[in-house]
């Protein structure tokens, strides 16, 4: 009988000890916010363009964590979708064309002689990449521009162009060799010729 009491007491005391540890941990070691949102956000391209339908990358990250589709980010494209799929352990989807298509990265360029200095693009730029003052010519800090297109819409004189970033020898790198296998070559020739006859 006493052994049962002892056992109950022992379990009870253990429960109290561990319960209090957990209780303290819940208060003092609390993780503020959802760390998954940060992880998702760090995979998004941070153009803050809003093409996904959310007012920035973080809101979209929050929505993704809540279960929104991961294929709404055209600037990130396929690689972002794959990274997100890996992180969240879901199937990668093709990019949702409704939100736009994947384009090469661009940079905004202000045709300075046409700029009237209205400051509207400065207010629109999510990363403060446009420099200028009222009634003074504006210019884009090309290194900071994310190519989000948000400055195009507010410009009253349409003096902003989105230029593709030209490949320079410094940013160039070797391409993957096309690993053509000798036996593949003949198969390729045969298959194309057969296709032509059809």
């Amino acid at each position: 009988m006493s052994s049962i009491v002892l056992a109950i007491l022992a379990l009870l005391s253990l429960a109290i000890v561990f319960g209090s540890i957990l209780g303290f941990a819940a208060v003092y070691l609390r993780v503020v916010g959802n760390p998954l949102v940060d992880q998702v956000n760090s995979l998004l391209p941070q153009t803050q363009c809003g093409q996904c339908g959310y007012p920035g990358c973080r809101p979209y990250a929050q929505a993704i964590v809540k279960g929104t589709a991961i294929n709404k980010c055209p600037p990130g494209g396929e690689s972002t979708i794959h990274a997100l799929a890996d992180l969240l352990d879901v199937d990668p989807l093709p990019l949702d064309a409704e939100h736009g298509v994947e384009k090469a990265r661009t940079v905004a360029y202000i045709r300075e002689e046409e700029c009237i200095g209205c400051t509207k693009c400065i207010q629109a730029c999510p990363v403060d990449a446009i420099l200028g003052a009222a009634k003074r010519m504006h210019t884009v800090i090309a290194d900071e521009c994310t190519g989000c297109d948000l400055c195009i819409e507010p410009c009253p004189v349409d003096c902003i162009d989105m230029l593709p970033i030209e490949l320079a020898p410094t940013s160039w790198y070797w391409q993957q060799p096309d690993n053509l296998i000798a036996t593949d070559r003949s198969v390729l020739v045969q298959s194309t010729s057969r296709y032509e006859y059809d």
């Binding site: 803050q48 990358c57 403060d128 900071e144 490949l167 320079a168 391409q175 993957q176 296998i181 036996t183």
Partner: protein, 631 residues
Amino acid sequence: MTDIFLLQGGIHPPQHKLQSSSQPLRTLPLPSQLILPLGQHVGALATPEVAVGDLVLKGQLIASANGTISASIHAPTSGRIRAIEQRPITHPSGMSGPCIVIDTDAQERWLDITEPVDYRQRSKADLLACIHQAGITGLGGSSFPTTVKLSTEASITTLIVNAAECEPYITADDCLLRYHSAQVVDGIDIVLHLLGYPHCLIAIEDNKPEAIAALRAALQNRTDIDVVVIPTKYPSGGEKQLVQILTGQEVPHGGIPADLGILCQNVGTLGAVADAILQGYPLISRITTVTGSYVGQPGNYRVLLGTPIEHLLTATETPLDNIERLIIGGPMMGFSLQNIQAPVIKSSNCVLVPDTQELPWPDPAQDCIRCGHCEQVCPAKLLPQQLYWFAKAHEFEKARQYNLMDCIECGACAWVCPSKIPLVQYYRFAKGRSQAKLVEKYRSDHARQRFEVREQRFLQAKVDKINRRQARITTAAHQQAEKTNHSQPLSSDKLPSVNPVLQLKQLKTAVALAQTKLKKATQALSDAESMQSLSRSKLATTVAALQAGLAQAEKQFQHQQQTMGLDPEREKSLKIAAVKAQAEVRQLQRTLDDVEESGRTASTEQLATAKTLAKVARKQLDIYLQGDHKT
């Protein structure tokens, strides 16, 4: 004699060195045009210091280093700047880059160069600055600015002079040692002086007996410099491999030899250092091996930097048509050049024009048979096969974990691969892509930071606005409370106000307020009438009440005016005078800003008078309002 630690891995490809090393060192005829790319080195592009049409002298600075990791460029001969424009550059991409083009005048007029003082009398900083100004970069092929390497903070105990030249075909360093070994030894002395006299090892492969003999002769039994003859094996000349062969130590992952107290310099670089410090000559030429079965006169040539490859080929009697491939660098680590208009640059140690028998195009790749030969020859002790799978599957993160970045791209793995897989190309691709991804990641993190800071700023502005508004409301409430306290005795209309002017103002506001209210109510009433609204009668009563209120307010106001003895007409005229005077002052101020220095004094006097007048007018008005109404 120093012990040698044998290189792990490595291969023994056919040497082909005699084609060029059997010939003497020759000088190329002067080309009609020199093309000098602004980016011949690792780091930032040089900044042009000349304009199109300028005459330049031999050795004159034409582009200066842009920061520490950059190198300046000098005119290799005298002539006129023809253009500063995009030209095909010596780069595997086949792209164009900014170049300075010089039309040579065949006069070889040198810039005045003062005889330099003995380097032992000069400070370290001065010597480093001199080497930096001479535009010297690693001539072994790395093109890394030499000053950066020499100004290391680490204490160097061993200087390794790299004369291994392990790659097939290339004999440029061999040739330099055979003809200019004394100059190289001078360069070694200067670098030893800079580094505080560490021990010096000159590493040279045993396939260059003439160069070894020349070097020994130049050294004359010196004890502080050892010539270490190492067995010929590719890639012994790699910096990290050479460190391992000579010291048995491994350069740590992601580190440099300086972490071990070791500094490596190529012999060509040391020759250039000697030229710069002892003669004052900048780096304007180099020894380049021109070789391959296709070349008519193979050999080593002293070539001016910027010489178009086309000129180099014509001068060496190489037929320009039917060139199958043209390789810059050696057959192992070089790259195919796509345009023969591209020039010889600081890093061009070899121009190889083989025929198809000698260096056939690689066979199509087969599947990997997992033979493991690549792993055995890898001098960096990596797992080439594993890296190949990762690169092929675009798993760059994993490839990095398997130390992809430690690959020196020597090509030994691809050389032994029985399936002819272009392994090095895969590694180059994986390195490039993974580096590009890192840059992208950095950019997006940076953009996020900027975005967050901006959001924070907007939030702060909003909070500030609310706070300011709250503060305004509180002060207004205070003032209202004070006002009611003051106006209580006034409401009896008997007691005199503390300040009649203030009271007058308040009454005026009350009149204006009543007028606005009445106007609005009248408008609402007319709207209601037109719409046959039910609230008409109620609105009508309100309008009547407001009319009565307005009448009373006006009466009070007039009463106050009378008690104060104010005359509205007089007040108005005084006000107009004051405003006019003020306007005149402003006008004069503006003209004064516009006029030239000469006419200034007259305008200043005018302005002063106007200011006094304005002050008088303002004072009159104030006095009048303050109660002295008779003036």
